[in-house]
């Protein structure tokens, strides 16, 4: 498949864009990465390819756009079916992986974000407690899904590894800025080891942003959001 046949519209800090890139890497699919310019108006191609949400990532395969990171990952798994499988084959395991991915997107990651946005010590402590509660659930889920193997997906990275692992860069930035260890030997030993394995995987390491660079970017985002004009 010609490289220009597969494009990813995205930006380097985005955890959701990382999901699409990791999935393509697992399948050894070459693609063109079209970087949206941060802080500038959205490109014509993005607005045309994702008119409903106007958000990255967008996978463009041939001339067909596919939007929403988890839907993109599933699409990649189905189209390049000769490569290693990303979703489990058992329907109940698939449903479980989807359940936790939805939990991460709807509940857990927003609680990570609220640590950074928290104003005041009480708000910060509440936000941290929420993240830690979530990690306890995820540590248990890891045990149930991995069944003693290195990843949620078993011997290799799978759907839930990708769905969760993409947040590790922001998690590390949050740990650095807040001075708290969210993943720890004491509370989440399995996830701590999984995180290292995930980040060093060949499909991941080149697309995982550097923690320092992401921390600088994070500070800029918070400054812009706090300095932004109040909504009308």
């Amino acid at each position: 498949m010609a490289k220009s046949d597969v494009k990813v519209l995205g930006s380097w800090p985005s955890q959701y864009v990382m999901r699409a890139r990791i999935a393509l890497n697992i399948k050894s699919v070459s693609y063109e990465f079209l970087e949206e310019k941060l802080w500038e108006s959205k490109s014509e191609l993005l607005l045309k390819s994702n008119p409903v949400h106007k958000k990255i990532p967008v996978l463009i395969h041939g001339d067909k756009p596919i939007c929403e990171s988890l839907i993109i990952v599933q699409y990649i798994d189905e189209v390049w079916s000769s490569g290693p499988s990303i979703l489990p084959s058992d329907p109940h395991e698939r449903a479980t992986a989807r359940f936790w991915a939805a939990y991460l997107d709807e509940k857990w990651f927003p609680s990570i974000r609220s640590i950074g946005m928290a104003q005041g010590e009480d708000a910060r402590k509440t936000a941290i407690a929420q993240v830690e509660e979530g990690l306890v659930l995820l540590e248990e889920a890891f045990g149930n899904c991995s069944k003693g193997k290195p990843f949620f997906g078993g011997d290799q990275i799978g759907y839930l590894d990708i769905a969760f692992g993409c947040f590790l860069a922001w998690l590390r930035v949050t740990e650095k800025i807040s001075g708290i260890k969210l993943l720890s030997e004491a509370n989440t030993p399995a996830l701590l080891n999984w995180a290292d394995r995930f980040c060093s995987d060949a499909a991941v390491k080149d697309v995982m942003p550097d923690t320092e660079k992401l921390a600088e970017f994070g500070k800029m985002v918070i400054a812009k959001m706090r300095g932004a004009a109040p909504p009308k």
């Binding site: 596919i66 929403e68 839907i71 599933q74 699409y75 329907p91 109940h92 698939r94 449903a95 989807r98």
Partner: protein, 218 residues
């Protein structure tokens, strides 16, 4: 429970209606257990400890939660008839996209309409925008799934049982701006699977009035 299918249900919920339609489309026999959301059963708390929400499908003793995840599960396990998702990966990604769109938008928008506070006008505009978008997506097709009910039809049609409630609370007409969508809803209700799953809109309205009272939202 071994080999059996159980649905933890709450009759006014658009989300449990989705599951009922999917089960009926596949001809699956199941036990329906009605939940009181103000007094959740030990079974619900055991089967969905993370969210404590309905619907939950219990199959061979194992729970599946989140309505569209359940619908996909049903489609994958009982793949002998009435496919809900397209077989082509691109078409499937589009169907999943619209299901996700509805999940992100419909419920919170509808709730702001029937709660009826200062954000009601904005919510009405947002609802019409969502429905017009869906009407555009339907185009000239009989169903979102093409010639037969599919995943997006299952995802959207339950909310139509709440239209009377939205219209009455918000004092507006959905049919006036989205006639094709209303025609599609009527077409869906000709199917037994949909007709049996969707309550009478007047009963939904009555339920909403009681709920508002109970939550002190009057």
């Amino acid at each position: 429970m071994e080999g059996g299918v159980v649905l933890l249900d709450f009759w006014p919920s658009s989300f449990t209606m989705r599951v009922k339609i999917a089960l009926a489309e596949k001809g699956i026999k199941y036990e329906c257990k009605h939940e009181d959301l103000f007094n959740k059963s030990p079974l619900l708390l055991e089967m969905n400890p993370v969210h404590k929400k309905i619907p939950v499908l219990i199959h061979n003793g194992k729970p599946i939660s989140e309505s569209l995840i359940i619908v996909q599960y049903i489609d994958e396990v009982w793949n002998h008839k009435s496919p809900l998702l397209p077989s082509d990966p691109y078409q499937r990604s589009q169907a999943l996209f619209w299901g996700d769109y509805l999940d992100k938008k419909m419920y919170s928008c509808g709730k702001r309409i029937w709660v009826g506070k200062e954000d009601q006008e904005e919510a009405k505009e947002e609802l019409m925008k969502i429905l017009k978008t869906m009407e555009g997506e339907l185009g000239d097709k009989l169903y979102f799934g093409g010639d037969s009910i599919g995943y997006v039809d299952v995802a959207l049609v339950p909310f139509t049982s709440w239209f009377y409630t939205f219209e009455t609370c918000g004092n507006f007409s959905i049919e006036a701006d989205c006639p094709k969508l209303i025609a599609w809803a009527k077409r869906c209700k000709e199917s037994e699977s949909v007709c049996k799953a969707l309550p009478d809109p007047l009963e939904i309205y009555g339920f909403m009035l009681q709920l508002k009272k109970r939550l002190g939202l009057n």
